[in-house]
């Protein structure tokens, strides 16, 4: 893979990645194809999927220049991280709960919107990443329906 990934899938990590700068995408796989699951932006804690089974179940790819810190599980309630962590959890649970009643197309659009709002480096999902991950057909479908645009080698939300 040309896009670097964070060690998570199948790994027993102690800690979460506290994203200080940059954009990270989580990916999962169905029998037929991969799916972009969620976009993480600065201030997010990446990797809470591991708490269910004690082992990471999502792949995380870094889409931009990225700066992160590994915060050990025991440190999450330290004064230094506690507020940021719980703030993240609240937002994340809102987002995930909203996903419950939305179509996958809507979720993709929402995540493209997130990239455009939170990154100075990219405005959407890089075409190279989309090709590499095998999620091109989902984005092309949105493109055909005029929901998004493909410009400068990036799939972007229409402004």
């Amino acid at each position: 893979m040309n896009y670097p990934h964070l060690k998570n899938f199948a790994a027993k990590n102690n800690g979460l990645y506290y994203l200080k700068n940059g954009i990270v995408a989580s990916v999962t796989y169905s029998k037929k194809k991969p799916f972009l699951v969620h976009i993480y932006t600065p201030g997010d804690f990446v990797g809470i999927d591991k708490f269910q089974e004690g082992i990471g179940v999502l792949d995380y790819f870094i889409l931009t220049e990225c700066d992160y810190e590994i915060v050990n599980d025991e440190e999450l309630t330290d004064q230094k991280y506690k507020q940021s962590f719980f703030d993240f959890l609240k937002t994340f649970l809102h987002e995930i709960t909203a996903y419950r009643s939305e179509s996958y197309e809507k979720i993709l659009q929402y995540n493209l919107e997130k990239i455009s709002r939170f990154s100075n480096e990219i405005e959407g999902l890089p075409l190279a990443f989309v090709k590499e991950m095998g999620i091109k057909s989902d984005l092309d479908k949105l493109l055909e329906n005029n929901k998004i645009i493909l410009e400068d080698e990036e799939y972007k939300i229409k402004k």
Binding site: A11, F35, I55, T97, Y99
Partner: protein, 264 residues
């Protein structure tokens, strides 16, 4: 801590909860399900400030901890809380994308198909080099392992592994390594360092990567793993940048780990 008696109603139907709860003792009935100790109640409705669809009624006398905000959660129940959130979000993610309940087994198989290029949506599904490489790994991993019997003591095992690198018999090495990974109680820290040096001597970058992944499994101290990576970074970074090998090694690593998890 609050205590409730049987048949009391904790939260009425259609109510927007002002608090959420953690069951220390007893049982609560909700939506025809019985929730026992170490469960969280109304957490998601509390956070999203939405109405609960069914009432929460006490089935067996209960002791509950109540919270007005998630940052009130204390360290001792934080692991349960994180597990709850993880399970909740994983289930939604997998329901949304796979239209199924979360299952580790299924996920591994799916990822395996993806890496092998079985999916239709990929640009590299006809990559012969990749397929050949993966088949070779399948051969290494699946067909030879049953023929191996491991030596009883760790020193003999170490010798077998070192010899197989020196003899350039990487297939034997990987099979021995895999089979013995969780057999011996001794520490692997210094031994892995030695093995990596040997792998560098025979200029095998894939093997160095493999050993680093093994280090990820065998060494709990991140600092030690980082030291190994730092020490060998120049070799890894500038020596034959073959992305498929990286990818395939990750796949092998995942398989090894999951097998361990599923055995438990």
């Amino acid at each position: 801590m609050i205590e409730l008696k049987k048949n009391e109603i904790l939260i009425e139907k259609e109510e927007i909860p002002k608090k959420f709860y953690y069951i220390v003792e007893g049982e609560i009935e909700h939506n025809r399900k019985v929730l026992g100790k170490e469960n969280f109640l109304a957490l998601i409705h509390f956070i999203t400030q939405t109405k609960v669809n069914e009432r929460y009624k006490v089935k067996k006398n209960c002791k509950l901890i109540e919270f007005s905000d998630i940052d009130e959660i204390e360290e001792d129940i934080l692991p349960d809380f994180l597990k709850y959130i993880s399970r909740y979000s994983n289930n939604i993610i997998f329901k949304n994308t796979l239209n199924k309940k979360f299952s580790i087994n299924e996920l591994i198989n799916n990822k395996e198909s993806f890496i092998k290029g079985d999916s239709l949506d990929l640009d590299f599904s006809n990559d012969e080099d990749l397929n050949e490489l993966l088949n070779t790994f399948d051969y290494f991993m699946n067909e030879k392992e049953s023929e191996i019997s491991l030596p009883e003591n760790f020193d003999d095992y170490k010798k077998e592994l070192k010899d197989s690198i020196i003899e350039l018999n990487i297939s034997k090495f990987i099979n021995y390594c895999k089979k013995g990974l969780y057999t011996y109680e001794e520490e692997w820290d210094d031994f892995l360092d030695e093995l990596i040096d040997l792998a560098i001597t025979i200029n095998d970058r894939a093997l160095v990567l493999y050993l680093l992944y093994v280090a990820g499994m065998k060494i709990n101290d991140y600092k030690k793993i980082n030291d190994l990576i730092k020490k060998n970074w120049e070799f890894l970074r500038f020596n034959n940048n073959n992305i498929w090998i990286d990818y395939a090694m990750r796949f092998v690593n995942n398989q090894l780990l999951f097998e361990e998890v599923l055995k438990k």
